[in-house]
Amino acid sequence: MTASACTRCQTALEDGDLRCAICALPVPAPDAAARPGDGAPRARILRCRECGAAIAFSPAARAPHCGFCGATMAIEQPVDPVEAAQRRVLFAVDRVAAEAALRGWLGSRGWFAPRALAGDAVFESLTPLSWAAWLVNAEARVAWTADSDAGAQRSAWAPHAGEASLAFRDIVVPASRGLREVEARLLIPYYDLNRMVRIDRDVDGELPEAVPGAVPGAAPGALPGAMIERFDAQRSAARRHVQERIAALARVRIEPRIPGRRYRNVHVACLLERQTTERIALPAWILAYRFRGQPYRAIVHGQRAEVVFGRSPVDWTKVGWLVAMLATAAAAAVALWLALR
């Protein structure tokens, strides 16, 4: 995918980039003669098929019509290249282990969970999913400011500033629409990124049990039965998301460089350079289950069965009893206080 690098920040450019996603330097137009194939649907033209004009477009009607002659126009919408993962992390938890992990998790939901949860929960589906993420490497010049107790005088804080060059390696940034950000963040720290293979490579014995029935979206040649999530976030928008993540990481990486023992108000300014982004897929088991008719979802890490989290029902009768007991205790305490006063 990578075509060249931005001359200003050395970030890898990809086919179809008009500007560098990091520093916004425009990418020179490719030489028309060198343009690959030109069979690719990259032209984006509003054009009337009848008279060649380009006037009226009715999004409501979906089909645009020429304001001059009413004929249907051919719209070539701007389409970011459809992106797919290049590599995937292998599953290390099979269906049996995932089910056992979920039963264990359902049985340890605490006092507020219904007593019958582990036994009465009906598993509707347990799907192996390879969810979409970006694997980012970048370098950055980081300027920072902060308050710390080093050099403090009358105030407990003194201002400090500095600069550092930081390298960011194998930063995983969620790109999933299916998983919520908070769910992805819980999974990421437990992935072994050394266990990555090409997206279309089958690994013997990885998941011997294919999921019953066809799974929509499964890529040909990929893990049998596992759904590979598509990158439906726009490429250009995605890299802005990556930048924000790196700035947040830079803030954490700067903290040990701040003099003193306590600090606050940490601000960073990053000049990102040489960023490369790889699209990867990370394994997880997604459980959809019902308890007394209500749907819930839980997730098991695809490599570490002990990492399980999700939503579970609450026994509101128990909650009601607790509230009633607390209210009774409070009322008794007030009555006692009034009697003794």
Partner: protein
């Protein structure tokens, strides 16, 4: 860069507005009125090969009917003091124009100095005497600020600063309907703007670069204010050097309604962002309505005063 070749030149015949000076390309017409000032004194002239050609385009989103509805709503919501003639303006005169602009980006290195305010509290004790002559000791906590000097560097890219290259639309007017979503930029090709009015790049690129650089320094100033630690700061001073400047010629979509509502006045102009629908424009006020309102207010005030004094003359 794209655009130097003849096949990427603005399509259509080139016209010059005799009133506001805008250079415009109209496709498929032989006579026109200026979309910026509604002047009919638009004359055809040969294309100027020395003008910069666009490299990127932000395309129109939605149609003219949608823009007209937005404009009607906007005109209808103007104040009662607005000149009625502008409210009666024909929204059919709304014209879609690809306005030339430059997108500026650069690397900004900044050295700064500032006084950083760090707050601390002190226990203050003071003796007071009450009206009976008893002495009392008051203890209170006072928050004070200690200022400490700080100097350092700030780095970052300055991106997506837009400056108008139009003779018809000023920077202020364009800024009033920004931002555009540059995620939907497309590389310029004449077919992309076929059928629309497109203005050619009229302002000197060096002027635009200077204006962009000033805007970049202002932008760095805003970032620096957020970058300062402490509970407050003062005396912030900075010196910014920009490197790796880039000035990309871009066409942005604008719906323009130019209304000549009085022969002795400059035309009213309402501009609408052709991508987001943001509207900006100044509506002239009707002097007689303001005078009438002042008279009514004065009359009411006089009546209240008269009643207050018991109706005596």
């Amino acid at each position: 860069m794209a655009g130097s070749s003849a096949d990427l030149a603005l399509p259509g015949a080139m016209f010059s507005c005799g009133t506001c000076g805008a250079g415009l390309a109209f496709a498929g017409v032989r006579s026109e009125t200026c979309p910026y000032c509604a002047s009919p004194s638009v004359v055809e002239r040969p294309p100027d090969p020395g003008r910069p050609q666009p490299e990127l385009v932000v395309a129109f989103t939605g149609d003219a009917a949608l823009a007209r509805r937005q404009l009607e709503r906007w005109l209808g919501s103007r104040t009662w003091f607005a000149d009625a003639r502008i409210k009666r303006a024909r929204v059919e005169d709304l014209r879609g124009v690809y306005v030339p602009a430059y997108l500026y980006s650069a690397v900004a290195h900044t050295g700064y100095t500032a006084s950083i305010g760090e707050q601390y509290t002190e226990i203050e004790t003071r003796e007071t005497t009450d009206p009976e002559g008893h002495k009392r000791t008051e203890v209170r906590t006072v928050t004070r600020t200690e200022y400490r000097p700080l100097s350092g560097h700030h780095v970052g890219y300055v991106t997506d600063l837009m400056v108008s290259a139009s003779a018809g639309l000023t920077d202020a007017e364009l800024a009033a309907i920004e931002p555009y979503d540059y995620l939907h930029l497309r590389r310029y090709s004449p077919a992309l703007i076929s059928g629309w009015i497109a203005e050619e790049f009229s302002r000197d690129p060096d002027d635009c670069r200077r204006a962009s650089r000033e805007a970049a320094v202002d932008d760095v100033g805003l970032r620096l204010r957020r970058f300062m630690p402490g509970d407050g700061h003062s005396d912030l001073a900075w010196r910014t050097s920009v490197t790796w400047e880039s000035l990309a010629p871009v066409l942005v979509p604008v719906w323009v309604l130019a209304v000549r509502y009085r022969a002795d006045r400059r035309p009213l102009r309402v501009v609408i962002n052709g991508q987001t629908g943001a509207i900006a424009g100044k509506v002239p006020l009707a002097g007689w309505k303001i005078a009438l309102a002042v008279l009514i207010a004065a009359g009411i005030a006089a009546a209240i005063a008269w009643l207050w004094h018991g109706g005596a003359p």
